[in-house]
């Protein structure tokens, strides 16, 4: 499996624009997969842990910038990411594997660049060490 990054992004902000900007004739990049959610503030940390447990090298959350989220979910997402990074570190997983990016509506170019930079960072880190427990 080539997927290295799982990207969570909001159905009500950046995702629709991203869809419109994509060339449907081009095969999607297998190095990342986008999972659409209803607000960065709704994203449960278990889903992030599940992605990291299964095979993802890293997880990025694209959240609306401060003052742009209609539900103020982005502030919650920020604090959850800060706390989850510390938890990951205690599990021996580099906190850089979890990234929060502020991406506004219509910022598809910035979004694509953030994804490709993140994948470059993940390639430097390599995959998360697999557990072998009988």
């Amino acid at each position: 499996m080539n997927t290295k990054a799982i990207i969570f992004c909001c159905n009500w902000s950046v995702y629709p624009g991203l869809l419109l900007s994509e060339d449907t004739t081009v095969e999607p990049d297998p190095e990342y997969k986008i999972i659409v959610n209803m607000c960065s503030g709704r994203l449960q940390p278990d889903l992030i842990l599940e992605a990291l447990k299964d095979s993802a090298w890293g997880v990025m959350i694209a959240a609306c910038p401060p003052e742009e989220c209609e539900h103020d979910g982005n502030y919650k997402a920020k604090r959850r990411v800060l706390l989850l990074k510390r938890v990951l570190e205690q599990f021996g997983i580099e906190p850089q594997r979890l990234k929060l990016e502020w991406i506004d509506k219509g910022e598809s170019v910035k979004f694509k660049k953030a994804i490709s930079d993140f994948i470059d960072e993940l390639k430097e880190l390599g995959p998360i060490k697999k557990l072998e427990i009988n």
Binding site: D46, I48, K53, L83, Q90, G92, L131
Partner: protein, 338 residues
């Protein structure tokens, strides 16, 4: 008709679950009237060979407490699984990994170094004599069970039929479980024999809870005295009530809460929660710094979050081996090794 046969066994545990059986008090006499206790090494003299001699499925139900962290425990629970019709994971360590499961933040080497080596200030061991699985002495060879790198819950080693949570399980739940098993009307396999609501749902301090909790400062329970009627979280003290199953007392209110201590999570997650730590990250980070969050700088948010000391240890205090990530990734863990 012969009486049903019951076995009790302990693995990596503190002995509190054995106490919990003794805490049945007079009720234990009722139990003994109804069943034959065929194996209980903590209380009576039994040998491994007594169990080996039994026929498969001869034991009606085996209550096994403690996590699995060495070869002896693993062999014994596999043997009990062969001999018992039903296996019950009894207590937090057996169900979730429990306190011994916190060892999954280390490995065998670092644990031995802390117990027998240079990281233990009270041990004088210049020759660095460490436990060996085999050692030669004039009388012959002595053996010790191999110590595993990773602590596992009971169901990560053998098939488990039911779970009784708690550190230790309250006697009323144990009596209820025995009643259910003896009645023959068995619940669905895999059932946790305890209520499904969270402790927060049942907490008598709910009335004191403000509509919106916002924590400005995290306080440790050793630093403050919390009003015995007030919600711990509203007072800035981390309480695992929102992500923990209720049932630690028959009346519903938490046992620790009644003693003015926050819930530590020994009953494990309610059915809908997959990962206690993940859920607690969600619950706690949502209310820490909630008031005025739109004006809080990234640095201030980080400072506030960093007031939470040892988050993984706190959130997974009883459930690290059964968490989604199970243990710390360490470079010296060898492939295929336990």
């Amino acid at each position: 008709m012969p009486k049903p046969k019951v076995a009790f066994y302990w693995c990596a545990s503190c002995g509190g679950c054995e106490e919990a059986i003794v805490d049945l008090n007079e009720d234990i006499l009722k139990v003994v009237e109804l069943v034959d206790i065929v194996f209980w090494p903590c209380a009576m003299d039994f040998k491994y060979s007594d169990v080996r001699k039994m026929k498969d499925n001869e034991i009606t139900v085996a209550f096994i407490n403690g996590a699995i962290r060495n070869d002896e425990q693993e062999k014994m629970v596999r043997l009990l699984r062969e001999k018992a019709q039903l296996v019950i994971a009894f207590g937090s360590c057996s169900q979730l990994g429990g306190i011994p499961g916190l060892a999954n933040f280390w490995d065998r080497e670092t644990i031995f170094e802390s117990s027998y080596g240079k990281n233990c200030p009270s041990v004088d061991n210049p020759k660095r004599i460490f436990p060996q699985t085999k050692s030669k002495v004039p009388e012959g060879e002595l053996t010790l069970p191999a110590f595993h790198n990773t602590v596992r819950s009971l169901d990560q080693v053998i098939d488990v039929d039911y779970y009784i949570p708690g550190c230790a399980p309250p006697p009323y739940l144990t009596m209820k479980a025995i009643g259910v098993i003896l009645s023959g009307e068995l619940p669905e396999k895999g059932t946790v024999l305890a209520p499904e609501k969270t402790l927060c749902d049942e907490c008598s301090r709910n009335d004191s809870k403000p509509e919106k909790i916002s924590i400005k400062e995290i306080k440790r329970i050793s630093e403050v005295i919390v009003d015995s009627k007030k919600c711990f979280l509203a007072e800035g003290v981390i309480c695992m009530g929102p992500v923990t199953r209720s049932g630690c007392t028959e009346e519903g209110d938490g046992k620790c809460i009644s003693a003015n201590m926050p819930c530590r999570g020994c009953f494990g997650p309610p059915p809908e929660v997959k990962d206690v730590g993940g859920k607690m990250v969600s619950a706690l980070a949502s209310i820490v710094g909630l008031e005025g969050e739109e004006n809080m700088s990234d640095e201030d948010a980080e400072k506030l979050i960093n007031q939470i000391v040892d988050p993984a240890g706190y959130f997974y205090r009883f459930s690290l081996p059964t968490s989604l990530l199970r243990r710390k990734r360490m470079s010296n863990l060898v492939k295929g090794e336990k």
